[in-house]
Symmetry: C2
Subunit: 489 residues, 2 copies
């Protein structure tokens, strides 16, 4: 049950606001195990809808699901040099099983490249067996000391795509195709605009040739890396002897890609769309799209209003059968809770639409429809409720994306900026800053040490500024790349 006091306003303490929304909207809770969270039904319902949408997109692009073991022999992790360096410090290790000490400790997967490519090597003989286009929905564990609900937890849920191709060209195409799928999902379903681009070497996935990411701007102007797609080259195929006989009869190493998004996206959703009242869920991802709240003052009104409300649910279900919209409707018929308290609770939880129906509304064969995003109210006829609801939901989905895009653009800085101005900005309100970079890891590291900002990505063409920056933000030397700089989660 929701707590009745107000949320800390975002402007006062964004981080406190975030935790309060997650806990009080019952998306998640802390668990007795340090660093692990419990995803409660309200949060998991959003994740299920995310999964369904992504899974359909993966299948439409030719991928199939499989499941690989949770445990990875410690020796596997060590076969790819960069990979072990990146992940060894943060793994959980099983040393005992069935009451006995294990001969070789088992690592709990922090990601599954090693075990999956070891299996691919067993299955692939010839170019005819390629490409392999796999995806896995799974839990992974990375030992984190400073955790945040959804954003950074020791265990999290994710999907990891893993593919093997006969040529680098094909692998590169796959890497970018899946980056595009992620972007389509984040913009189309989450109503969260993202900047896509390539990571600098220091932010690359441990073991990849190139990493690409989707970067979203949260309401505190910090960036959140929402999904990554990696061109792994032949690094893992060489480490795991993933070879195939080519059409010409030669023996070649395969080319791999991997890509993933996680339950972190739920945190991104909250920080993109939440307001001081609570969560605002984009309709396409909302477990409930419309909540109906019956209003009555006297006992003699009660039966009439409740009966009418049930009738509305039935009519919407009937309308649903004739239309593809598949409305998700909930009637809040709880006794002993005032309508105002119900409004508060459903607004906190982010349900997109509310329909209030009282005795006077019913006399006029109408209800009052309230949008969660704008809180705009209007009377709608019960005869055309299905159409009206479907239309408003569609509009909300588009409006929420547009509002988020406008907010991002209003907080993005392009064009000449001095390093002092940049430092001030990063110490204050924050922003997405598009500025030059000389390409040196030293400049990048100094900016990070001095401002906590990092290169989020070297943005794709469409996100680059009209005027290409000429000088490095840090050293003032010639710029080789336009970079998106920001503090990040």
């Amino acid at each position: 049950m929701a707590d009745d006091k107000k949320l800390t306003p975002r402007a006062e303490d964004f981080s406190a606001w975030y935790n309060e929304v997650v806990l009080r909207a019952e998306l998640a809770d802390y668990s007795p195990v340090r660093g692990c969270m419990v995803i409660r039904p309200e949060g998991y319902g959003i994740w299920e809808r995310m999964q369904r949408a992504l899974d359909d997109m993966f299948k439409a692009t030719g991928h199939r699901n499989a499941y690989f073991p949770l445990f990875i022999p410690e020796s596997f992790l060590q076969k790819e040099a960069e990979h072990v360096e990146g992940f060894a410090p943060e793994v959980a290790v099983v040393t005992h099983g069935g009451g006995r000490k294990l001969e070789e400790p088992l690592v709990i997967r922090p990601t599954s490249e090693t075990i999956i490519y070891a299996m691919f090597a067993k299955w692939v003989q010839s170019y005819r067996d390629l490409p392999l286009l796999y995806n896995q929905w799974a839990n992974v564990v990375r030992w984190e000391m400073r955790t945040r609900l959804f954003l950074r937890t020791m265990e999290f849920l994710w999907q990891e795509g893993h593919t093997a191709h006969a040529t680098h060209e094909e692998a590169k195409e796959e890497t970018l195709r899946m980056l595009g799928v992620y972007r389509d999902f984040m913009e189309g379903w989450m109503a969260m605009p993202v900047v896509t681009g390539r990571k600098s070497d220091s932010e690359r996935f441990a073991g990849a040739l190139r990493t690409y990411s989707c970067e979203a701007m949260m309401q505190d102007n910090r960036a959140l890396q929402a999904g990554t797609s990696h061109d792994l080259g032949q690094n893992f195929s060489r480490a795991f002897d993933l070879k195939f006989q080519s059409e010409e009869g030669t023996e070649e190493y395969a080319w791999n890609t991997s890509w993933g998004v996680s339950t972190r996206l739920i945190g991104a959703l909250v920080m993109t769309h939440g307001d001081d009242i609570g969560l605002r869920t984009p309709p396409l991802l909302a477990p409930t799209e419309l909540v109906i709240v019956p209003i009555y003052r006297k006992d003699e009104e009660r039966d009439r209003v409740l009966q009418a409300a049930r009738g509305i649910v039935d009519r919407l279900a009937e309308w649903d059968r004739r239309n593809p919209a598949r409305l998700r409707v909930h009637l809040d018929a709880r006794e002993g809770i005032k309508p105002g308290a119900k409004y508060y609770e459903w607004e906190l939880r982010g349900v997109p639409l509310r329909l209030e129906v009282g005795p006077r509304d019913l006399e006029q064969n109408q209800g009052v429809l309230v949008r969660r995003d704008t809180r705009e109210k209007r009377a709608v006829s019960l005869d055309s409720l299905g159409e009206e609801v479907a239309e408003v939901l569609q509009l909300m989905q588009a409006d929420m994306l547009e509002a988020a895009r406008e907010r991002r653009e209003a907080n993005s800085v392009r064009g000449p900026i001095s390093y002092d101005q940049f430092r001030e900005l990063m110490a204050g309100a924050g922003a997405f800053v598009y500025a030059g970079w000389c390409g040196s890891a030293a400049c990048e590291a100094e900016v990070k040490a001095e401002t906590k900002a990092t290169i989020r990505c070297l943005p794709d063409e469409e996100f680059r500024s009209a005027e290409t920056p000429t000088h490095c933000l840090r050293c003032g030397g010639p710029s080789t790349d336009e970079a998106l700089w920001a503090r990040a989660y």
Copy 2:
């Protein structure tokens, strides 16, 4: 790619046959980690369909999904005395994380009663918060020394339902409701008939008051426990202080239930329906229901036949849009593989229907439809293909259940049986034997030691014999219960 040699016949070596089907139909593979398996896309596709069907049934009965941590503090497991005794010997233990030794070792969940009821205790204050009806799809780990693909692996995928109720009556109803859901799923979707009933005390879940199960007969006449549902009483609520204030204002412990099925069901499916040619998948669970194999001898036939085959796929998709059947169709247009080799491969994989289309068929606007279960062939007009396919699939689903039920009944023994006859039967062909039991654990243990058979359940009313057994199978004393005896997986 499937291996071309024949499978070991079931009658020769059932166990070898089973492993060959699982590996060669590419349902699963061994992994480099001892005791862990890889579920390949063909197997995972069946699991996804099982998940979807069960999940819909769980939601229709008011349950919601959530996710609880993989890790359980070792101390939690010890709070319920029977539970720790049952599970402690088979847990995997994490002793190191992030490069350091942990203060308290973490156990990888073998099942989640402890962590879930600890969270429930945090969430429940009053009777108004009840019932809690939760389900979780997750991986669990039980350290097994003798593993078998799908049937017994160290890590497996499952769902575990966990509920809390205000009264024991309600909890008992829930326990039996979910047993019924499992039975409906197993018979309706898997075409696998089951006997439901209560477990004897020695086969009860560690920590439950009562355990109920669904028992299916495999083709070697051994029983497979396919799903269990537990009335946990107040055992866990007392251990985890899961209390609530009742409507009368008193403080009470909640009543819990838990219930689960796992990827073991895929093994059950293979051993229920497979034949000497390979897998036979019940249509409702088949990732592909119909495979179209184009036949051509000469190059000039090739284009015409392939084009027609693509036309058939399009027409079925079009038919699909007008009907709720949602056909899952695959066109096998691979080059360089003869039709016969394709038939072999799809029969091995258990695809329910095959449509062969060659030049002569096309002249007559028809194709040859072949059922996987009976291998019956018949010509069907391409004009009514959608209807024909949907009808045959429905028929197959029913026929497969009926065939499995007849097989089970033919191998069930009711009525007076001497212990010598019973021993002989269990040492030979095996059977489901309905016989008396005096209720003593000693008799039960002796039967197990002497014949490897166990009491699978004390069957529900509808499965009991017309003539109630009067004497205990083992000691000859008065029978207190009719029991279903069988060797089991």
